[in-house]
Amino acid sequence: MARGISDKVVILGMGCSRFGERWDSGPEDLMLEAFQECITDAGIERDQLEAAWLGVFYDEQSVSKSALPLSMALRLPNIPVTRVENLCATGTEALRGAAYAVAAGACDFALAMGVEKLKDTGFGGLPERTKGTFEDLWQPGFTPPGAFAQLAAAYAARHGIPMDRLKRAMAHVSVKSHANAVAAEKAHLRKAITEQQVLDAPMIAYPLGTFDCCGVSDGAACAIVTTPEKARELGRRDAVAIKAMQLVPSNGVELSHSSWDGAHTPTTREAARRAYAEAGVRDPRREISLMEVHDCFSITELVLMEDLGMSDSGKAPDDILDGRYDRDGRTPCQTDGGLKCFGHPVGASGLRMAYEVYTQLSGRAGVRQLASPSLGLTHNLGGIPNRNVASVSILGLLGL
């Protein structure tokens, strides 16, 4: 098997717009906001960029398809731009494209941009969209909370955990993320909440209430990647390198085969296994310093703790309630508030996660700064439990 891209690609700079209901900004404004921070951080000129990847999910709501939205918004120097889309893993997919181009030696400086403008629909929640001409004929007219709520029903049944205890653990997930977001200046939702508020909130899709669901936000995030050599030439010390990037799509098992129990995400398990191997991580519970996972809903984060190998099967509720994933716990999760509170502009989320890990590893997280983190994990779960695209990436200091 190939050795992967571990330590072959360095993140030279990153940027992230403020997330939220950005009534004042269109996608081109959000991209520019993230890019200005990123290019300054990278310390290169715009004309030094040789290729770019643009991640957008809802082209009907954000920007149109193709290379043009990014090329035109940033007035790029007519370099190739590849527009990618892989559900909620879209931002990570853009970064993967740019990283692979640098690792392949095709270019020295590549840009990965993720953006989403969701608040142009006129209603709350994510936009309605077709699931495909065949799928629309038979699949339920689900919403994301309803599709992910399925995990809760199955998890409670599979592990014999009473729903009220599961709901308490799910509530802790949200309370923790809200507490973390208070210190994240660019986050969408920055108010601390209580467990009781979560439990008392209106039902969205049983058993998920309002506070079990992540924010629907506008935003953009981006990264400029280069080779370790170029980073050194530019005088970059303690550079943050990509240790692993793995992407695992479903192939139909969760949708059609009875082997899936409905209580976990097999794609995440496989992506984690491959990512740990690529990064040389043997004991993730000891080696991973922080995680930014796809907490689109509280139950998703809970289930992911097991799928990423951080909790034993059936024990995630206990570990969560014990504070293992709190800011001061063994493996802090969502130190910037996660999708839950920082927000979830779909195409930007994977890059926003990388932005937080990059910021923490660079020691520039301010009041959110963790003590000497060395490896950070990001995870996306695009789609729904029945059919999804999981990505697991690991970032760490170059050479460590």
Binding site: T121, G122, F123, G125, E128, T130, T133, F134, D136, L137, W138, Q139, P140, G141, F142, T143, P145, G146, A147, A149, Q150, L151, A153, A154, A156, A157, P202, M203, I204, A205, Y206, L208, N251, G252, V253, E254, L255, S256, H257, S258, S259, W260, D261, G262, N386
Partner: protein, 478 residues
């Protein structure tokens, strides 16, 4: 010997009490005296076609190896004027494409006329499925609103031993208009009941019955059961005019579920045959621009069989909101929010390519690894198999299954919130992610058995189309 080999009855699970209607509409001063009992009413995702499929499934369940030659779908409220409803029904039932399929309608006599035609053709050895269903709407505040229920009945006719032997039929065509509904209209225009009774039912039914009994040499007093789908006063008049015995009158069950339209005589026939003794003579009357009179002799072989009626009565659930009933029938514009604006245009090219998979609910069983799967596809989904072109089509609608995961979604658009959906696990293996129907909030649970029902999946109001798929409903006895 031509006759009826099997019957199936279906009523929607929802019942609206007449009290609920008059509480809402009684201010008009009409119909208070009738405010007893209840009517069966379609859920938002039911129509004549879906009810017809369910009735047919019940009728066919008693004859798993029936080889049908013809299918007639009779309805005055068929969803499509030009798109063969009977063919949708045949596809949903997984029947052979060589079947002769026809739609019938035109009057409340459509059900009995279709049954008589099938019985008359049965002597030639032809087996037929006759399905009669109606979802008639009563204008709010009208007597019909209190009277009309929704339901379907199916009959399998053929030769050989069955439920009832066919003795003969007579027909009378007469353009007597006691009510009518223009093709594009929602509601019937109904004239005075006393006139309909005295100038219509009594003489016209009387002539048809008189001709039939005379030809067969049967005395009116020898008729043991009479099926007359009409108000009680009308029935009394007909009995008097024809000399039929009062005690022979079969209950029209209108207190329990209302008058279910052109299938109602067949539904009453099912009720009559549930407890008919051997050799009892059963007279079935149909009325509408004339009359049908069909005489049958019960074999008594299927005594105490319910034909689905007992289940339909046992699983009833009260519709507590009159306004929700109106909304489901399309009679009350309701703000469902912007999510309801989703475009449900059907790609007919895909619908045709996948009609057996979707309408027929066809999965595949892999010849190589035996894994059952939905949808049927070219490459096996089993992780250890993934062989290509190894799947045999399997009809999934009748397979036992239970809930693996579920939610009640208050955010998603549903004409009857919450939208309930989830993963359903087949006992024989395989998983399907689908909508549920007829579940009340709190009724779904992991592990609960379900049965599959043919329902409206989406309505495309912009283009006047509706598409169908199967949904998981609470299992009987679960």
């Amino acid at each position: 010997m031509a006759g009826i080999s099997s019957l199936g009855c279906y009523l929607p699970r929802l019942r609206l009490s007449r009290q609920t209607i008059t509480e809402a509409m009684g201010w008009l001063g009409q119909g208070n005296s009738r405010a007893k009992g209840e009517i069966a009413t379609c859920n938002w995702d039911e129509d004549s076609l879906t009810m017809g499929v369910e009735a047919a499934r019940i009728a066919l369940s008693a004859l798993p190896h029936a080889e049908l030659d013809a299918l007639t779908f009779a309805s005055t409220t068929a969803p499509f004027a030009d798109h063969a409803n009977g063919v949708v029904l045949a596809t949903a039932l997984g029947l052979d494409a060589s079947l002769r399929v026809s739609d019938a309608g035109g009057s409340q006599r459509a059900g009995t006329s279709a049954l008589a035609a099938a019985l008359a053709g049965a002597d030639g050895g032809r087996a037929s499925l006759v399905v009669a269903a109606d979802q008639r709407l009563g204008k709010p505040g009208s007597p019909q609103e209190l009277q009309y229920g929704h339901g379907a009945t199916a009959a399998v006719t053929g030769t050989g031993h069955g439920l009832a032997e066919y003795l003969g039929a007579e027909h009378l065509a007469a353009d007597f208009v006691d009510h009518y509904r223009e093709s594009s209209a929602l509601f019937d225009y109904v004239l005075e009941e006393r006139w309909a009774r005295e100038a219509g039912w009594n003489p016209l039914v009387g002539r048809a019955v008189g001709r039939l009994l005379g030809r067969l040499g049967v005395q009116a007093a020898e008729i043991d059961k009479v099926v007359l789908a009409c108000p009680a006063a009308t029935a009394r008049g007909v009995l008097k005019a024809t000399g039929l015995r009062g005690e022979a009158l079969v209950s029209d069950r209108s207190m329990e579920f209302g008058d279910t339209g052109c299938g109602h005589p067949l539904l009453m026939l099912a009720g009559a045959l549930e407890d008919a003794k051997r050799d009892e003579r059963v007279l079935v009357i149909g009325f509408g621009q004339g009359a049908d009179a069909i005489l049958l002799r019960a074999t008594g072989e299927r005594q105490a069989v319910s034909f689905g009626l007992q289940e339909a009565l046992a699983t009833r659930r009260e519709e507590t909101h009159y306004t929700r009933f109106l909304a489901h029938q399309g009679l009350l514009p309701v703000e469902f929010g912007m999510r309801a604006e989703r475009d449900n245009r059907t790609a007919q090219t895909v619908a045709w390519r996948k009609h057996e998979v979707v309408t027929g609910f066809t999965g595949g069983r892999c010849r190589s690894c035996n894994a059952l799967q939905f949808p049927l596809s070219r490459v096996c989904v089993a992780p250890d198999c993934r062989e290509t072109d190894t799947q045999e089509p399997v009809r999934l609608a009748e397979l036992p299954a239970s809930i693996k995961t579920f939610t009640e979604d208050w955010l998603a658009y549903s004409a009857r919130p919450p939208l309930v959906y989830g993963n359903v696990l087949f006992e024989a293996g395989g998983n399907v992610f689908m909508e549920f129907t007829d579940f009340a909030p709190g009724e779904a649970a992991v592990g609960r058995p379900v049965r599959f029902m043919f329902r409206i999946k989406d309505v495309d109001s912009r283009r006047g189309f509706r598409r169908y798929f199967w949904k998981a409903a609470p299992g009987l006895g679960a």
